[in-house]
Subunit: 217 residues, 2 copies
DNA sequence: CATAGCCTGTTGTGATCACAAATGGATCAG
DNA sequence: CTGATCCATTTGTGATCACAACAGGCTATG
């Protein structure tokens, strides 16, 4: 298997892109623990590709801060210091407050309905103690809101921060014992309904900061 | 030449890293025009490496938004739309205002002296109509200030924005005819001396926004 | 029994090759 | 002279290989 020949069907995306996207989603959703090691040949084996696309995918993730590259070239998911976590939390705050503020004037009822539906999923995941499912639903909530801001570069930066925090988020929510309902999400929705920009900014800032504070603090 | 053998001396950095850093600096300083095309074999020829490290460097730059990857795989430096330019300017504003604000309490006299020295270089470059030199000195001014913020992740994001704007900045400053002294830089230094945070935030926002506004507007 | 040295298997790096797609220019018809 | 068509060249992609550095365990020695 795996001859140099390549069928004409490429599924509209190259091999390294498929590897990249899968790994990126895994990291962002916290499916990989902090400090976990990856090998190029291992990735290639899993995705049935050679080392070349595996390397490109890993390089790309390293460039985005999703993976850590040791001096000897070994790659692993990063173990963040408390200072770094606080800084990334501040970045989330900065970017996401701005994104929500830009989304506010464009937030119609259909968007709010959709956010409420996602919130039901978030609550389900919390009650099921499903850390990965919780992170995924939570990020979907935020992304859905921010997409309305019509600011792709800013959203991309916010997602890069999520990516860097992915493994740490898993560790955080894994040790959350109380089943906490998405209270801040409700505040966000209320502020959207009321067109209350200061309230929205405050709610987003609280939602983004709260969880990470208790991990880094 | 270029046998697979590799001497033990690696100069403390791998080949793809050398290529990456050189290209990154070139792009950030505006030495490459918007829309200019690059080829892997061409890069390899210039740096005397094979396609493999050239590809890794290019991939990394694409991941950072410094290069544009067409659907057919061709890479070129991006031609930004006005909307994108405005968004990146807003990002610069958001990030750099925060960085300067964090640097303010740590800004000692030695830092201010250094900023003033850099400012002399900026003025020289303006009078010499040296666009690349101007961009380099201007970015050095900002980086020197932001380094004091002790926020590496935030600074890295700001530099990513600079990188994305690099080719466009070149096009902008290339069409600036008036020899404009770094007025906003003087305002920044004055605010630093006075410990005036609102003034500093305003000065940084103006400095960051002014040039790009006249290009995108 | 502890520790230092070696040694083998593993890993990342970069070069080279084969292949498919796209590009760009030359040629020919209108 | 203008337009489309065809073909040779260029280009990106991915596989494979050789090599050096590294890691972990094993052995031998004090």
């Amino acid at each position: 298997m795996s001859l140099p020949s390549r069928s004409t069907s490429e599924g509209l995306s190259s091999a390294h892109d498929r590897v990249y996207r899968t790994l990126r989603t895994r990291i962002m959703h916290g499916e990989i623990a902090p400090g976990e090691a990856l090998t190029l040949r291992g990735i290639g084996r899993e995705f049935d590709v050679s080392m070349t696309p595996a390397r490109e995918a890993v390089r790309r993730l390293v460039a985005e801060g999703a993976l850590f590259l040791s001096s000897s070239g070994r790659v692993s998911t990063p173990e963040l210091s408390n200072e770094r976590i606080e800084e990334l939390a501040a970045l989330r705050s900065l970017l996401e407050v701005e994104l929500s503020s830009r989304a506010l004037p464009r937030a119609h009822m259909a968007l709010i309905d959709r956010l409420q539906a996602i919130n039901v999923t978030v609550a389900e995941m919390v009650s099921k103690r499903d850390a990965v499912g919780y992170i995924r639903a939570n990020l979907e909530f935020h992304r859905t809101l921010y997409l309305r801001a019509q600011a792709p570069a800013m959203l991309a930066m916010a997602e890069t921060v999520w990516l860097q925090l992915g493994p740490t988020m898993r560790a955080l929510y894994g040790r959350l014992r109380r089943t906490e309902p998405p209270h801040n999400h409700k505040l966000i929705i209320a502020a959207l309904k009321a067109g209350d920009e200061p309230g929205l900014r405050l709610a987003v800032r609280s939602d983004v900061t709260q969880g990470l504070r208790l991990l880094a603090g």
